[in-house]
Amino acid sequence: MKRDVFQALADPTRRAILILIAAQAMTPNALAENFNSSRQAVSKHIKILTECQLVKQEQSGREIYYHFNPKKMKEVADWLEPFRQMWEDRFSKLDKVLLTLKNKK
């Protein structure tokens, strides 16, 4: 089954992996050292992250490096953006209402 970005992000281990490789590209071994789970478990998470393009793999010599793909992450942020904007507008108006209320006292 092909997973989408949101399913990929729903898992805390996968989010932790993204945070790590966003700081710097990592080999499978270096990455696995950061987790208590088995290498197989970590590589399964990586497979899911790669499938939905949040992670890219690059060969460098004999090693594979995992890279974070910020472009894909931006798609997720964009999806939420109008909803966030609606609440930003609402709350900034609420701030003004509260300021008026406070001054009245």
């Binding site: 729903a10 909803f83 904007q85 609606m86 709350f91 900034s92 701030d95 209402v97 209320l101 406070k102």
Partner: protein, 162 residues
Amino acid sequence: MANQIKITAEKDKQEVFITREFDYPRELVFKAHADPDLLIQWLGPDSRIIKIEKYDSRTGGSYRYFVCNQAGKPVAAFNGVIHEVTFPERIMQTFEFEGLPERGHVSLDTMLFEELPGNRTKLIIHSVFRSIEDKEGMMQSGVESGVNEGYVKLDNLLAKGI
């Protein structure tokens, strides 16, 4: 710097959390959520007017309001029953958008008002939906209102004859 909103909406869950802090005391933030005269001042987008049909803000009460265009014509209606109003810490109520093809797509919204040091307040809105589809539908409706807002602003510009 303005207080940041934190939105948590996990893809496979039927719930959404919206968290935001305010530089005002909890009693005031609560009041702005429970007093319909105040609510209408901030709930709708700039391009819309909120008209309240009823808003009985107490435990066991109910509400119904319209979102209207500038001419005062209703473009959407919302209703719900108010399960609990506990000043100044908690409001629990249902929420339904009346424009859907069928009824029954209701969410349960809990608003928690937490006191922070320095007379500040943390608001946590927790919405639980009947299905993931309902949740996504509601979040998309935010998208539409944002888009509408954009069109109205464009209309205003065009009216000024740019």
